[in-house]
């Protein structure tokens, strides 16, 4: 599997400047092309730092001390520059305000900004922007100012500005935190579609129900270390994680309580609605 991995982190330990303890410790992570991996964990677990590391912002932008190796598509991060790196890896920040350039008056121009920077011809640029807007459902925002949008709309723009670059690896840090519930589900669907088309996805997220529904694999991060990894159903129902302050779905917590009262009879706890319906209907 290591040979096939498009993202390959070996023994990565990283410390931000002026801090005493490492934000990431001995991270070993291999992700294969087209895989959709979700990273979960309490605030401060290192989810964002892991995203920054895969996206090359650590150490190129944030500095600090890093050991181990980070490879994407066979190239090592420490031997590359950030402007080369971004051609392979796209990162959507947790807060869309941090991502919007401030240099453009309309959403359409904002989305074309990255393409302009890498010299994509004008006609192709237009086509790619229009397609990306259609995919994320923001075509009607094309002429609005990025700053006149609501938080959730800005998040869609931020995500679209990465998708339009067609990176091999898509790194997303809570990309739906400000989105309405059905919008969140739609965006998870879009991300899933990108993975089906071969884009590799790494998603830091709290919304357990949708991770279970859409992701291939879950990495549970705590205090900068990987505690558990595996298929969503197993990781997200683990007692171990609950004790460590990880979020779980209401289906899981309710079935766990029901089990104590003898009302849930299956061994496995549910994460999704369908699993809960199936278990409780018996």
């Amino acid at each position: 599997m290591e040979d096939m991995a498009i993202v390959n982190l070996k023994n990565v330990t990283y410390r931000y400047p002026l801090t005493d303890s490492p934000a990431l410790q001995n991270i070993n992570l291999q992700v294969i092309e087209g895989e959709f991996v979700s990273v979960v964990g309490p605030n401060g677990a290192g989810k964002s730092t892991l995203c920054y590391t895969i996206a090359g912002f650590v150490p190129h932008f944030f500095k600090g001390e890093i050991s181990g190796t980070v490879e994407v598509a066979g190239v090592e991060s420490s031997k590359s520059s950030l402007h080369e790196w971004v051609l392979n890896v796209g990162l959507a920040f947790q807060n869309p305000f941090n991502q919007i350039s401030g240099a453009k008056y309309t959403v359409f121009e904002e989305l074309a900004f990255g393409l302009e920077n890498i010299g994509v011809p004008r006609e192709e640029m237009k086509i790619r922007v229009e397609e990306a807007m259609k995919l994320t459902g923001i075509s009607d925002l094309a002429d609005r100012s990025p700053y006149s949008l609501s938080g959730g709309q800005q998040q869609r723009v931020a995500l679209t500005s990465i998708l339009v670059m067609q990176p091999k690896v898509l790194v997303l840090d809570e990309p739906t935190s400000q989105m309405d519930p059905i919008g969140t589900r739609e965006i998870f669907g879009v991300i899933r579609t990108m993975a089906e088309k071969g884009m590799t996805v790494i998603l830091a997220e709290h919304k357990v129900e949708w991770i279970a529904e859409f992701a291939d694999r879950v990495i549970a991060l705590h205090d900068g270390k990987i505690l558990l990894e595996g298929i969503p159903q197993e990781v997200l129902t683990s007692d171990f994680l609950l004790d460590k302050g990880f979020g779980i779905s209401r289906y899981t917590s309710t079935a766990r309580e029901a089990k104590k009262q003898g009302l849930w009879k299956k061994d496995k706890l549910p994460v999704t609605l369908d699993e809960a319906v199936e278990g409780f209907a018996k």
Binding site: N43, S148, S150, G151, M179, T254, E257, V277, F280
Partner: protein, 271 residues
């Protein structure tokens, strides 16, 4: 202190009509959640309650004050507002000073400022962080500082704009506890949220907005059960509400206790 909006309309200078004839009464001590799709006008509506925005037509009253006739500074005595992004409101060099800024600015006496600050820090579990610079704290704790700095102003009305966004399970529980204490003290709490499970578990009244209008307004279990109507404003019912419905439980379920009680009384539960 009641809140009343009457035929409230608002258009942004760009011409986008954000609120269309909103007439609403929120009574003293109510706990209200506002839900709805991105761009529905939720934030625009609550920014009218403390005068940050003024109606294009119609009026907003906070108790006996018309917001058009009061300054934002004066309205701050009655309405506290916690922004969605804490970084938009924090500026002091340490947590204690930050939280004291509001009550001091409202003119409370020194001793009272102290006790308000002490109380707000305890409620938000920040008592051990008074000397810390807010920007040395994690985003999670900065959120709690933003909450504390508004709670310390001891206003009758407190507004939270998406308080649980990006927060982990432990902090969502902390925020729910803050809301519970405010309720016990008789405060009016208005919260914008996309976290519909959090909404179901902590609020008695739910207002669903769409395209600048009120779509639904009522008791939480009346509003949250209306799956088809909520879908038009991009809101899913809470997880346990959906589960109860799929299992054919008779009542609209809002939380775990309600679910387990309803399920236990069905035939399947009794087997």
């Amino acid at each position: 202190m009641n809140i009343e909006t009457s035929n409230l309309q608002f258009s942004y200078p760009t011409g986008v009509q954000a609120l269309r004839r909103i007439s609403l009464i929120i009574e003293s001590g109510e706990q209200v959640a506002i839900v709805g799709q991105n761009g529905a006008g939720k934030t625009t509506l609550v920014k009218h309650l403390n005068g940050l925005l003024q109606p294009t037509s119609g009026y907003v009253r906070i108790g006996d004050w018309d917001t058009k006739e009061q300054s934002v500074a004066k309205l701050a005595r009655r309405v506290g507002y916690v922004f969605q992004n804490p970084d938009e409101q924090l500026f002091s060099k340490n947590v204690g000073t930050e939280v004291a800024f509001g009550p001091r600015n409202l003119g409370y006496a020194g001793k009272q400022v102290q006790s308000l600050v002490y109380d707000a820090l305890a409620m938000t579990e920040l008592s051990d962080k008074t000397e810390t610079n807010p920007y040395d704290l994690s985003a999670t704790w900065r959120k709690m500082v933003a909450l504390a700095s508004v709670i310390a102003m001891d206003t009758d009305i407190v507004i939270f704009d998406e308080p649980t966004t990006g927060q982990d399970a432990a902090n969502v529980t902390r925020i729910a506890n803050v809301i519970k204490v405010l309720r016990e003290r008789g405060k009016t709490v208005i919260t914008i949220t996309h976290d519909i499970d959090f909404c179901a578990e902590n609020f008695e009244r739910v207002i669903a907005m769409t395209q600048g209008k009120i779509l639904l307004d009522g008791k939480a279990n009346e509003v949250l059960g209306q799956e088809e109507v909520l879908a038009t404003t991009y809101v899913d019912p809470p997880q346990l509400t959906r589960l109860g419905k799929r299992l054919g439980l008779p009542a609209t379920i809002k939380n775990q206790d309600e679910f387990l009680r309803a399920y236990a009384s069905t035939n399947r539960g009794k087997n």
